[in-house]
Amino acid sequence: MVPPAASPDLQPTGLERLLAEVINPGLCVACGACLGLCPHLIFLDGQVAAPDACGLSSGRCYAFCPVAQRGGSGESQGPIGPVLGAWQGRATAKDLQGRVQYGGVVSELLALALEQSLVREAVVTAAGLRGSPQGVRVTERAGVLGAAGSVYAGGGALSRLNQALAEDSGHPLALVGLPCQVAALQAMKASPEHPQAAQRIHLVIGLFCTMNLPWRGLRGLLARHGVQAPIGRADFPPPPAGIFQVWSNGAYHELPLEDVRALSYPGCAGCPDLTSEGADLSVGACEGKPGWNTILARTNAGAGLLELAAEKGLLELRPADPASMEHLTQAASAKRKRAAAASEEHPNG
């Protein structure tokens, strides 16, 4: 394998630079794009680390890092990116209720893609050891449901995708990920050093990202509020609620939003993407309609899967109402502006 070429400014583009620009300044958002490619980068309990020097001047770790590569193209499509169709929806199946984040749309779409063999395996995020979110590979509906619900903490799930791509197997893959992970995936797909990504990743379901938290900090905060991991589900109700809701072991807890916000990854401040613009389908909360999702179909593949789910009666769909789309666009636009301001302050922040 020929290592990726050094950048035109002749600076190294490998682990050393990733450490200098992203990891050591504390800007890593734990997406996992750099993980699973080599043994030098490790992930434990929600944190990326590099115990030893890798010794190469260029590497995929830097090329794929969404924080290091920020500021490129892809933001010319408007605040919420390309959209073929905008919907509000929810799953009709009873077994999803209470287990899923909002409407269960992500779980249902992914389960359908697996059942239809559009993909044979998917990488999602689920709670692992010590409650720490981490990537898991699932191949059927039960596995998908096991990972349902969000805890808003980085889990390095792309590590598992890299692991799957390195295996001597050609089956198609899906990813459910945050905007940073979707952005990293686009870099992977575009990389000549990683041809498996473009060949094998057939479905990307992106999530709207309200906040991404370092798991260790969140666990500490939860412990101080008497919440023991693992947590089943968490949510940020819309303003002016000012709280972080947590369901854990059958109990419900509320944490002050400011305490939670103070924990968030510094590296997220420079992220311009609220809605996972590079995904086939993007899914998030539907403001003012608890139990429903907002769904953005961005590609024909995504739109096709959504149509199939509706045809099969798995999802109940309605066109997104203009007011809520306007609200989403405003929120995405505000995120763009915050990111631009943060980027001026810190080029990679």
Partner: protein, 639 residues
Amino acid sequence: MADVSKLTPGQKVLLQGNEAIARGALEAGVSLAAAYPGNPSSEILQTLADSAHSAGIYVEWSTNEKVALESAAAASYAGLRGMASMKQNGVNVAQDFICNLTISGIKGGLVLVTCDDPSGVSSTNEQDARFIARVACLPLLEPATPAECLSMMKLAFELSEEIGNLVVLRGLARLSHTRAGVTPGPLPEAKPRPHWDPNERWFTIPVVPKHQVMLDKLAQAGKILTAAGVNYYDGPVRPELLVIASGSSRLYADEARRLVGANERVGILHMGATWPLDQELILEHLARAEKILFAEEVDPHLESGVKSIYAQQVRELGLKDFYGQETGHKPPIGELSPSRVAGALADILGLPWQETDPSYLEKAKAAQALVAPRQVGFCPGCPHRASYWSMKQVLAADGREGIVSGDIGCYTMGVLPTGYQRVNAVHCMGSGPGIASGLGKLRGQGLEQPVISVVGDSTFFHAALPALVNARWNNSDYVLVVLDNSATAMTGFQPHPGTGATAMGQAGTVVDVEQVCAGLGLPYAVVDPYDLEATQEALYDALQIGGGLRVLIFRRTCALVQGKQGGHPWRMSVDPELCRGEDCGCNRFCTRVFRCPGLVFDAATGKATVDEVVCVGCGVCAQICPAGAIQARPKEATA
């Protein structure tokens, strides 16, 4: 070691210095010998242990040097002869007892043997243990040859009994392991039955009068040593240069004067007894020479002592030129050698001297090119490599700049690249948990770094226990990792309390590390360091808990012991199709970062390969290969 009790009296044999010390002790009628292993002293006790049954004596590996000397003192109080042997570091451990023992006195002959290690070849320091003679006012003997080792041991026991105090015999690494002809004498016919006369009491008060008694004993010892003739002069009546030397340096001085062709100009005052110094003899020889050079290792013990004697008589003796550490003619650090002494002689006498023939240097350079460069490192399959690997990984992932407080044993090499330089401090036996205990109490003042103390199983019993009790008592926050390889490996696989074996081969009682931890109320868990994932999970979790001392026992028998017990189960190989070599995704991770000597990088193919001669088949490297190219198969299946 050989059973030296079976040597035939009068029949000359080749003996190592340490074996000769053991034989000397047997000829002196020693009844109890105890020691804690430590190079270069270890063979003394092992020789005695291997001779114990036929000699009818008791020999033990003790938990530490202080306990060893205390056990030997017990024999003395029971009317028998006892001895304790140790390396220079051990004298420090025993020092508190020594400094009180010298005041209370002893009954049966009691000898402390210290084997010093100039240059610290197998030690953490190159301390000169002769200090103890001055500090504790003890007679000090310094043999130069194995034959003197034997004769001086006998003298030491007699002297000890005569003055009623401990006597110190100082060996050196070169002497301990040198072999030379020794003619053994007879062994004693019978030894007394042990009995402590209840009317005899041994303690240090009243201190001042007993202090005077101690000084009187030393003065008495001086007279006995003068009469014994262990100090003697060899050279012209009025030498141009007088060398005052002790220990191995006496031989170096003799060789040096031949090397520079100055036999007729240089005299050597051989000091076999170096405390107290024979003032009369020294003054006699100072009067006959204008120039005086000191040859000794490591500290200027003779140099300062002789200059002090000279200062008292300077009006009579007139001005002299002294050469030694003060003038740079004796190095203040490192071992001495014949050529170093020859260089000093040549400089003082104005003689030509070339330390090494240039043609020899050329040949040496050529020979060096044939030898692969090597670093000091853990053996192939050593569990410590796996243990430090896991510590490195976990501390990096933990991200709080964790500190590892090291200790004494093979695992001291954690400070070197072989242990990924993961150890932040190493001092003496047991100091690792002590330092960790202090660090673990700085939380209140803002110390956020996690703290690990690593300690071997033998060190755990030697000196770690008080520090652990301290940490438990004061609620210090750290993780103790016991690197339990079921051996005192670095010094030669001597047994220790955790193994339950004893020096004389009889079964002792196993002192279980887990039970000790449980008894101290310490939470503990046992993991196999060969299982990297389980080890790292356990260590990471232990670091996260916080709040007090908790223990992880990394248990895996020393690779060399496993080898003797039938070997490791795996035959390792590298699949060249899977090995990624120097590409992104690996870049020689196994041979560049993990660095077990059993793995080598084949530059011709650009792939890693297993050196089957070196690899023992522990299987650990298969767990670190990112491509699954390093494969472990059961040996039986591939045989």
